[in-house]
Amino acid sequence: MSAIVVNEFARMRHLHVVLLVAVLFAVVTGIGLYAAVFNPDFDRTSASSWNTLLMGMGSGFTLAAPLLLAVVASRLVDAEHQGGGWLMSATSGVTPGGLCRAKLLALGLLVAGATVLVSAAFAAVGLAVGIDAPWPAGRWLGLTACLLVVSLALLALHVVLAARVENQLVGIGLGLLGAVVALISTAVPTWIAHLTPWGYYALSAAAGYVDGQLAGFAPSYLNIGGLSAVAAAIFALFTRSFDRQEV
C-alpha cells in the first residue's frame, strides 16, 4: 500500500500539484485575512475579532477550494488516461480502484497539510495583533476539521469523476460551478446548503451574523459527519466497481 501512495507523490512531479496546493493555501489565506481584517467588527480588544478571523477562514475555502481541488484531482488522474497508466498498473496487479484510493490518500495528505497551515496562519495573525480575548480553541479546531472533511469529500468526488469521465473539462467545469454553489450556500436557508457537497463549507461556519450581530457558534458537526459518511460510502462503492472494471 505504502509503495502505491509514494508512487502518487512521484507522479505529481512536473504536474504542479504541490504548487497548486500551495496556491490554495495562499489564496485562502489572502482572501480570508483580507475579509477578516477589513471587517468593521475586527477589533482586537473584543472576542469578535476571533469571530471575524473564523469567518474569513471559511470564506477563503468557500471561494478558492472548489475549483483548486477539482484541478489537482483532475491533473493527477488525467496522467493515467494520458500515459496508459491504468493498464500499466493493472499488469502489475494494481487495480484502477486501488490507484484512485492511493490518489485520494496522497492528495488528501497535501490538502490536510495546507488546511492545518491555513488554520495556524490565521491563529498566528490573531495572536500577533494581540487580540485580548482568549483564543477559542474548540471552535477553531472544529472549523479546521470541518473544512478539511468537506475538502476531502470534494477531492473524492473529483477523483472518481476524473477517472470515470476522460474529458477533464467536465470536472473542472463542475469545480467552477461548485465555487458558485458554495458561495450561494452561505446566503440561503441551511436546508438548501445541505443539498450539495459545496454547501457544507457554509455549514462548517463557526461564526457569523445572527440578526445583524456577529456571533460565535459551533459548526454543524453532525451534518458534516453525515457528509463524510456518505462521501466515504460513495467513494468506496465507485472504486470497488473500478476494481471489477475491465481495462
Binding site: 512536473h14 496522467a79 500515459g83 499488469t91 502489475s92 496487479g93 475491465e246 481495462v247
Partner: protein, 302 residues
Amino acid sequence: MSFIVESSNLTKAYGGRTVVDGLDLRIPEGSVYGFLGPNGSGKSTTMKMLLSLIRPTGGEVEVLGQPMNRSTRRQLLGSIGSLIESPPGYAHLTGAENMRIVQRLLGLDDAQVDFAVKTVRMHGQMGKRVREYSLGMKQRLGIAMALARQPKLLILDEPTNGLDPAGIEEIRELLRRLADGGVTVMVSSHLLGEVDKTATVLGILSQGRMIFQGTRADLFSAATPDLLIDCSDPRRAQSMLARAHGARLEDTTVRLAGVDSDEATAGVVTGLVAEGIGVHGVRRDEQTLESVFMGLTAGGGL
C-alpha cells in the same frame, strides 16, 4: 513438452458478438510464440485474458502451471512482463522517473532496473521526458518496464507497430536475445514478416478462431506449394492445363496449384509429353510464409 501458457476453449464475447472463439493456446516454455492475425482478429483481447485483465466469457487459462484468474493474478503478474496495445509511460516524467515507479510498485532493486534499461538500449535516454521520446523509444521503455521484473514470460502486443525497418529489426534482435536468455516470449503482429524470422512457434488467428498453431515447418507442410513447369511450348501447355489445374503463365513458366502428390505431378508431365511438348523443368515454388499465411487467412473467411 511443457507449456508455460495453456488455455482451453478460451472465449470472449462482447454483447453477443464473439471476438475470441474457443482458443486452445499452447505456448511451449522457452519458445518465441508468434501470435498472428489481421487487425480486429482478437489478439489483444486474448492477451488481456491471459493476464486476467479482462474476464473470459468461457474457458480457462493456466499460466506457469497455475490457473490465472482474479484471485491469483496479483501473484502471477510478478513473473509476467507485458506490453498491451500502446506503450505506457507518463509523458510528464522522465524515463528514469517512469522506471522508478515500476521499481517501487514491484519492489525491484536498482540492478534489475539497470539491466532492463540496458537490454533495450535506453540507458542514454533516461534523463529525457517521455514526451520527447520517439515511438520507438516509447516502445523500448515499455518493454524495459515489462522486463525489469525479470519475467519468465513476456507478452508483447504488436511491439513493432509503427516502427521503421531499423526499429523493427532492433526489436526482433531483442526478442532473440531474450529467448536465448531463457525468457518465453509471446509476441503478436498483424504482419507476418515482423515475427516470421524470430518465432519458433506460430499461432494464427482469424476472426477470433485459431486457424493454425504449430512450428514453422508444420505450417509449410500444411500447405502445398505450387508446381512450376518449364517446357518447349508454355502457351499450349497452359491452355491444356487451365481447366484441370487452373494453370497460369508466368513469363515462360506454367504455374499449377493444388497438385499435391507425386503421382499427380507425374500425370501432368506425362500428359504434356504425350502432346509433344518437351518438359525440361519441374519444380515446387519457393514458398514464403507470407503466401501460406495469406492462403490460411483467406481460407478462414477473411
